[in-house]
């Protein structure tokens, strides 16, 4: 409790970044994107039909399209995007590495491995699950946690540079992907192509139960991340200085990694391995909002949501009637951005 109050005192002492207007702007853009996501589709719904349908007074068809197809899809994209954006921010602070993200460090691949392993192990010969599907997120989280732990173990020994850390993450991710491939080929996991689309990340066929489950994970983790905001600021310092400000460095890093794993698993369980959102959202947030953790938390979550909703609109609209995975669109956006950060960081070093 005292830590929180101290944090409040510190914050009032720090020069106030003009983050409130910027956050308001981001929120407005996010809202606009959500409305666009709701109104666009194979049968477009202009605002004058969308708004009545939203408050329950549209035509029966509009209500059906809106409430059973589009609303869960847009909300799932938003909630999963927000989770991934937050997971990325938290991971970047925990590892003090600007290039870190769940998909970059192999955590997302680990989560996917957990998910397919679950389907493989608990499917009987008649293609029926022998346990409730609600256990799948648990398996996903276990997979993510296992690979996060491996990365932490490998990188924890000796002093590993930021780029080496990423390469360790990539190597472990490759291992997890190989495992995923084996499970898909070996297992009775539906049809391989369906699994491939899910693995690439997709929000089509979103259901309300998915939204609720992902939303539950996010609503548990978000307050925890907010409570960690002050420590996230302190972790920007090097180990000794951070300890001098009274933060338990290793324990905070561990807790942040844990939060990142849970957030990633919550998203990956229901939308698959959508990549690069956890990398790009915190970066964009930092460009707009500065370094302080509290506005960054709000910004990363909103920008993550915005990224996935926008990517979903792009794949729905740009490639219709194909069902291009949402993850392909985020990778097209995220990969060049990663290269940009990589080489800007390098020039600053030189």
């Amino acid at each position: 409790m005292s830590a929180i109050m101290q944090g409040a005192a510190d914050r009032s002492a720090m020069p106030r970044h003009a983050s409130a207007p910027m956050l308001g702007l981001v929120a407005a853009v996010l809202l606009a994107a959500m409305l666009a996501g709701l109104s666009m589709g194979s049968s477009p719904m202009p605002l004058e039909r969308l708004l009545p349908a939203l408050i329950g007074q549209g035509s029966a068809t509009d209500m059906l399209i809106l409430w059973t197809l589009r609303a869960p899809r847009v909300l799932l994209a938003g909630v999963a995007g927000a989770s991934l954006g937050l997971a990325g921010l938290v991971l970047q602070r925990a590892t003090r590495n600007a290039l870190a993200a769940p998909s970059v460090l192999g955590v997302t691949d680990g989560a996917a491995l957990g998910a397919v392993a679950f389907l493989f192990l608990f499917t009987d010969p008649a293609n029926m699950l022998t346990v409730s599907i609600y256990w799948q997120p648990v398996a996903t989280a276990l997979g993510a946690a296992f690979f996060a732990m491996l990365v932490a173990l490998l990188a924890g020994r000796g002093n590993v540079g930021p780029v080496s850390l990423i390469l360790y993450g990539f190597a472990l991710g490759a291992l997890a992907r190989a495992g995923v491939t084996l499970f898909i080929v070996a297992g009775p996991v539906y049809r391989a192509s369906q699994a491939a689309i899910w693995l690439a990340g997709s929000v089509h066929e979103a259901r309300w139960s998915d939204v609720a489950a992902t939303g539950l994970v996010l609503s548990i983790c978000l307050p925890a991340v907010v409570l960690m905001a002050r420590r996230m600021d302190q972790l920007l310092l090097d180990d000794n200085s951070a300890m001098a400000t009274g933060v338990a460095v290793r324990r905070s890093q561990f807790m942040l990694m844990g939060l990142s794993v849970v957030l990633t698993a919550g998203a990956v369980s229901f939308v698959g391995a959508i990549g690069f959102v956890g990398l790009v959202a915190p970066h964009a947030a930092r460009l707009l909002l500065g370094l302080r953790a509290l506005p960054l938390i709000a910004g990363s979550a909103m920008l993550g949501a915005l990224a996935v909703i926008a990517a979903d609109i792009v794949v729905r609209y740009g490639f219709a009637p194909l069902e291009v995975p949402t993850g392909a669109a985020t990778a097209l956006l995220g990969a060049p951005y990663f290269l940009f950060i990589l080489f800007r960081a390098r020039q600053n070093h030189a």
Binding site: L99, L154, R157, G158, N159, V160, G161, V163, S164, I166, L167, Y168, F170, A171, L172, A174, L175, R177, A178, G179, T181, L182, V185, A186, R191, A192, S193, A196, I197, A200, G275, F319, L322, E323, V324, P325, G327, A328, A329, A331, L332, A335, P336, F338, L339, L342, F343, R346, Q347, A350
Partner: protein, 328 residues
């Protein structure tokens, strides 16, 4: 060194023999021999001659090609972690091949190979170019990271192409994870000839490659046109990667593991490194192919997945040694 060569060749021959005998059903040596020498139309002869033999040959060709490509890339970039898979060159070749299949429905070897080679060349140019724009010479790990991300980008582009064509999707998905099985036996001879030609060319240039792996000033002082040599080596590596992708899909880590293995055995100098790495690569690919038949028996695993499981520990070890300051 002669002993080492003999041992590697012996291992390769043993693996090739095993590859002909092992499968969903074990074939006794006598029957394999009869099928190979007498041919015939019975089931065993068909399995051995039209399925297992081409498969073993393709594994050998692809393994050797990727190993040589790995050596060339490692020499050019002076980075022992460079290889066609990690630098995204395989992904570029695969993207181009899928593009051609999707647009034209063409599945003959020549257009597929041409497309894969073009894709590999372009990607190699892009990755190397991107890495160089970072200012000055490309730092080893940055080059690798650039390659990995370019590979991710190309993989998602490939995915977009894949969903656009349901008909070929399932088949291409398996091919994209790398596989030596069920390839057209007619591909074997031309591919072997091309790989052999480039391999011999590299061997002829072994002294220059040795100089290239020293630092730049030494190389130019010794009268070597560094830029031209480097360009030739990259082109050679990209072509080899293109051939192997057209044959078997992107198979990762052979180009990393085989040269590394041979170097650990104390082999230095390209005149020996190139042929021995090629043999080791062929053996490695064949071993991975045999494992892929049993790891999820009775299903066949994509060899790419098996190779990743063999190759990732090598990559981790190399990274670890680097972090521990052992150098590369």
């Amino acid at each position: 060194m002669k002993a080492l060569t003999a041992v590697l060749i012996a291992i390769l021959v043993l693996l090739a023999a095993a590859s002909l005998h092992l499968g969903v059903r074990f074939t006794p040596p006598a029957e394999v021999w009869r099928a190979l020498t007498a041919g015939g139309g019975d089931q065993t002869a068909l399995i051995v001659n039209t399925l297992r033999l081409p498969r073993a040959m393709i594994a050998m060709i692809v393994g050797a090609a990727l190993a040589i490509a790995g050596v060339l890339m490692q020499t050019v970039t002076r980075n022992p972690l460079a290889e066609p898979g990690l630098l995204g060159v395989n992904a570029g070749a695969a993207f181009a091949a899928v593009l051609v299949v999707t647009l034209t429905g063409e599945e003959a070897l020549a257009p597929l190979m041409a497309a894969a080679c073009a894709g590999a060349l372009l990607t190699a140019a892009v990755v190397y170019g991107v890495a160089l724009t970072g200012g000055g010479r490309a730092a080893p790990l940055h080059l690798l990271l650039a390659g990995i991300v370019v590979a991710a980008l190309l993989a998602s582009l490939t995915q977009i192409l894949l969903v656009s064509n349901e008909r070929t999707m399932e088949e291409l998905l398996f091919w994209l994870s790398g596989s030596f099985a069920d390839r057209n036996p007619l591909f074997v001879l031309p591919a072997a000839g091309l790989v052999l030609a480039i391999g011999v060319g590299c061997l002829a240039a072994a002294p220059q490659l040795d100089i290239l792996s020293a630092d730049e000033t030494t190389a130019s002082a010794l009268g070597l046109s560094v830029v031209r040599m480097r360009f030739a080596a990259i082109v050679g590596a990209a072509l080899l990667s293109g051939f192997s992708v057209a044959l078997a899909g992107p198979v990762p880590f052979v180009g990393l593991a085989a040269p590394h293995l041979v170097r650990r055995l104390g082999v230095r100098g390209h005149a020996r490194l190139l042929p021995l790495a090629a043999i080791a690569g062929a053996a490695l690919a064949m071993a991975a192919d045999i494992v892929s038949r049993f790891i999820i028996y009775p299903s066949q695993a994509p060899v790419g997945a098996v190779m990743a499981m063999l190759g990732v520990p090598v990559l981790l070890m190399l990274l670890h040694r680097r972090a521990a300051g052992v150098g590369l």
